[in-house]
């Protein structure tokens, strides 16, 4: 038996290749990604039909321009979120900063703010009539320019997504075995070399999957980029969908987007590295770095600044609108039914999706190979698609061959499964990588079957990752809009639908009640299942 802690090259991974995955596991994993394959199938089917090659008036030059703009934003946001998330994770786990756990919770909370609500508050703060501008004006300062274009989109998507990186890297940083780093230093390696050869390789899988979550999200994002007036590929796809009866050009463009996303997924599968970190429990807790007085002030300043921008400013703006709404006599109780609908459908979807993600993640981590990578990639590709394209795929299919579930919650939850499976996978796979296969091997060698082993050994060990994955999915379903609008049962208007319908006519006070409710409802599972457990 190999020691329970360590860094192993994947090829010598214990247990690897000794037993094949059970057919049932394959069947369950396949079933879990069938919904994700549906929109891609619909896309391919539309594009390969005669007349399907229709770029809808876009010149090649313009398409390349949009592609470049989208790539630039995705790269910039991914790099920024990685830097911010790593910094917050490191400060809150590896330093002696007081109140680290509170800070760690605070920096996960921006996840409850939908990017489009964040963008809305950014617009309300800036420009000649903006709230911050008026504040500056009363101090005799010039107004802020309108937040728009690349920098605004970059800031919005970075601020409201970096928490993914924080969430997925904190557990790794906390479980790094200090013995490895000490050995490296003891053998004469510099601190920098130790970080490069010991720490970073162990962080790579978590960093790679959180970066993929962020990069593909940026590619598919519509609400914030269009409000902030940055022209991306997905924005063009929405314009095509909304503008004309023939969906072909929009789907053709979405097809191009999928090819781009495929490239990103392949890069990620390479980048997550050929090293696996297994550690049940480090023999000792990690060594903390003593921040000097200046270091402490710097770290504190960074965290205060980040939390102010990502959390305090948008919440204050929403609260301000809500106050105005209350004085105008609007009742916040009017969003109660919407809150119940959002809460119930999100909870159901979170449970369904996290359960579906278990077999996919076990296959991907324990039985790496071409077939399991294909299953995994299918889920990730759909994650990069504009939600409108996913919704339309399900609508077209359900109307024709699954009429009984059309415009029901069943179809809606299946569509959510197609959209958000990778979020649960990212969390589960990180958990599986941490525990390593040796306990499962021990169980198997004691004569326990693969199925009971999964139930009695694997799943209890990754319990926290399961709950964290469910919470992430819950948050995303709460915020989802385009597919919900298209597929929901008639009159099943959720909080996101309410926010959208109020903001599209700029009823900010009404939107604020729904937004604040959404934030409050999202906070509970995020805190209970994710933030609270991060530092246990």
């Amino acid at each position: 038996m190999i020691a329970p802690t360590g860094v192993f090259p994947v090829k010598e991974m214990p247990g690897e290749g000794r037993r094949a995955a059970s057919p049932l596991l394959w069947a369950l994993a396949l079933a879990a990604v069938v919904p994700a394959a549906i929109p891609i199938g619909y896309l391919v089917w539309t594009v390969i039909r005669p007349g399907g090659f229709d770029a809808g008036g876009f010149s090649v030059e313009r398409l390349l321009g949009l592609l470049a703009a989208t790539t630039l934003l995705a790269v910039a946001v991914t790099a920024t979120t990685a830097a911010l998330g790593l910094a917050t994770a490191w400060i809150t786990t590896r330093t002696d900063l007081p109140g680290a756990r509170i800070w760690s919770t605070l920096v996960t909370l921006p996840l409850v703010i939908p990017s489009y609500v964040g963008a809305m508050t950014m617009l309300a703060a800036s420009g000649n009539n903006g709230m911050i501008s008026q504040l500056l004006e009363s101090l005799g300062l010039p107004p802020l320019p309108v937040f728009q274009g690349f920098w605004a989109a970059w800031a919005a998507l970075s601020l409201w997504n970096f928490s993914f990186v924080h969430l997925l890297t904190v557990p790794v940083l906390r479980r790094l075995d200090p013995a490895l780093e000490e050995a490296s230093r003891g053998l004469g390696a510099s601190r920098r070399r130790t970080i490069r050869t010991i720490v970073l390789p162990q962080l790579r899988p978590a960093l790679a999957s959180s970066s993929l979550l962020v990069a593909l999200y940026v590619i598919s994002e519509f609400g914030a980029v269009s409000m902030l007036r940055y022209e991306t590929f997905t924005r063009a796809i929405y314009t095509q969908f909304g503008g004309r009866p023939d969906p072909t050009p929009a789907l053709f463009l979405a097809g191009l987007l999928v090819i781009g996303a495929l490239f990103v997924v392949l890069v990620q599968q390479r980048a997550r590295g050929k090293v696996a970190l297994y550690s049940i429990r480090p023999s000792r807790s990690v060594t903390t770095v003593r921040l000097g007085r200046w270091g402490r002030a710097g770290a504190l300043g960074f965290l205060v600044g980040l939390v102010t921008l990502a959390l305090v400013v948008p919440m204050a703006t929403l609260a301000w609108w809500a106050m105005r709404g209350l004085t105008l006599g609007n009742s916040p109780l009017s969003v109660l039914p919407h809150a119940l609908r959002s809460l119930s459908v999100s909870a159901v979807a979170a449970v369904v999706i996290v359960v579906a993600a278990i077999p996919v993640s076990i296959l991907a981590v324990r039985y790496p190979g071409k077939r399991s990578r294909t299953i995994e990639s299918t889920a990730w590709l759909t994650y990069s698609l504009p939600h409108l394209a996913i919704g339309l795929g399900f609508l077209v299919l359900a109307v024709r061959i699954a009429r009984p579930i059309y415009q029901t919650l069943v179809l809606l939850v299946i569509a959510y499964l197609a959209m958000f499976l990778p979020q649960a996978m990212a969390s589960l796979e990180a958990g599986l990588r941490r525990i390593g296969p040796h306990l499962e091997e021990a169980s198997r060698s004691l004569g326990v079957g693969s199925w009971p082993t999964m139930r009695r050994v694997t799943i209890p060990l990754i319990r926290r990752s399961v709950l964290a994955g469910a919470a992430l999915v819950f948050l995303s379903v709460m915020k989802e809009l385009p597919a919900t609008l298209l597929l929901r049962p008639t009159e099943f208007d959720t909080l996101a639908v309410r926010i959208w319908s109020a903001t599209s006519e700029l009823f900010y006070t009404q939107a604020s009640f729904a937004s604040l409710t959404l934030v409050a409802v999202s906070f509970v599972p995020l805190y209970l299942f994710v933030a609270r457990d991060l530092h246990r």
């Binding site: 909304g242 050009p249 339309l392 919650l409 319908s501 599209s504």
Partner: protein, 341 residues
């Protein structure tokens, strides 16, 4: 880990059942005596009218709101004859025309068609205009002087407007306006105009509302929008530094568009559907549209929105609104070709 998940599932199921209690939401086919309306119009404007309808007639209504009109139209195009919808209430004449051309609408009774002038209804009598809105140039008087104001939308490609204008190229009303230009001036002239706007560094927004807000704030000089956004802002905020400018009569820029409603051929509730459309054209509803939405009612005696020219003084280009439907695809192509989408 099982226990929290089990508890969560039970909780979710419970919640789903109570969320279901206040709407007919979770079932595929809402009770058949409910009238099902697909509404491309915003909930805030629609729900008072729907409530009044139920109060008067006792007929319960389920409303499906879309993201504007186009996604409901796409839904209807896919549902075809199997749709549960009884009424389609669109925000724009082109999209309801598309549904009509697919043969999904049925002819309305003559008493309904007789209420509205021929200019604001379908040539085949399959949809009727409920309200009208006009395209305008909204401008900030601090940034645009009166003598700069153009007679024609074609003047906006002149260099003096460079970098000062906003449009919403994905917005249905803008696309309908481009379709109208195509009908009147032909595709070449329309593309030339769009390219002229693009090389004039026109700023693109995701809707009319943000353009009007940017103009009010002085972040933008002027923009092409529908007339009522500014009036809603004035009602909400009091006097603001923005005004609507109407182009010369007959200019494409002053297109007047109907928002229309029609009954689906597949409706199993024809009488109630007709009754609903009659209700939209009733004096009370027409007044609601003009007083609260600042759109023009189309039935005789409907009040003119406050601070607006009367409908009879507006003169858009000489086109038939029914013809817009055929030009949506080509207009979106042209907008993309000009690099604006």
């Amino acid at each position: 880990m099982r226990r929290p998940l089990v508890i969560l599932s039970i909780l979710a199921a419970l919640l789903a059942s109570c969320a279901d209690g206040d709407s007919s939401g979770t079932t595929a086919t809402p009770p058949t005596d409910d009238l099902i309306v697909y509404s491309g119009r915003n909930e805030n404007f629609v729900s008072p009218v729907v409530e009044a309808f139920t109060e008067v007639t006792g007929i319960e209504v389920s409303v499906r709101y879309g993201d504007g009109t186009s996604d409901l139209a796409a839904t209807l195009l896919n549902e075809g004859d199997t749709t549960d919808a009884d009424v389609f209430w669109a925000q724009d004449p082109a999209w309801i025309g598309v549904i009509g051309e697919e043969g999904l609408l049925t002819e309305l009774p003559t008493d309904i068609l007789g209420l509205v002038s021929d200019a604001y209804q379908d040539a085949n009598g399959e949809w009727v205009g409920v309200t009208a809105r006009s395209r305008v140039l909204v401008y900030n008087p601090d940034l645009v002087s009166e003598d700069e104001l153009p007679e024609s939308v074609f003047e906006l490609v002149d260099p003096e407007w460079s970098g000062r204008l906003g449009i919403a190229p994905g917005n249905a009303s803008f696309i309908a306006f481009v379709s109208a230009m195509e009908l009147v001036e032909g595709p070449e002239a329309t593309l030339a105009w769009l390219e002229g706007m693009a090389s004039n560094d026109v700023r693109t927004y995701d809707g009319n509302g943000p353009i009007v807000d940017a103009v009010i704030a002085g972040d933008l000089d002027a923009g092409l929008v529908n007339h009522y956004y500014l009036l809603q802002r004035i009602a909400d905020q009091g006097e603001v530094s923005a005004r609507n400018h109407f182009f010369a009569p007959g200019d494409t820029g002053s297109l007047v568009m109907a928002t229309g409603a029609g009954v689906l051929s597949a409706s199993d509730n024809r009488e109630a559907a007709d009754e609903f459309i009659r209700h939209l054209l009733s004096p009370e509803s027409q007044e609601h549209f003009s007083v609260n939405l600042f759109e023009y009612g189309l039935v005789d005696g409907a009040p003119t929105p406050q601070g607006q020219l009367p409908l009879s003084d507006l003169a858009g280009p000489d086109i038939n609104l029914t013809d817009l439907a055929d030009h949506l695809d080509s207009s979106v192509d042209l907008i993309a070709e000009a690099g604006l989408s």
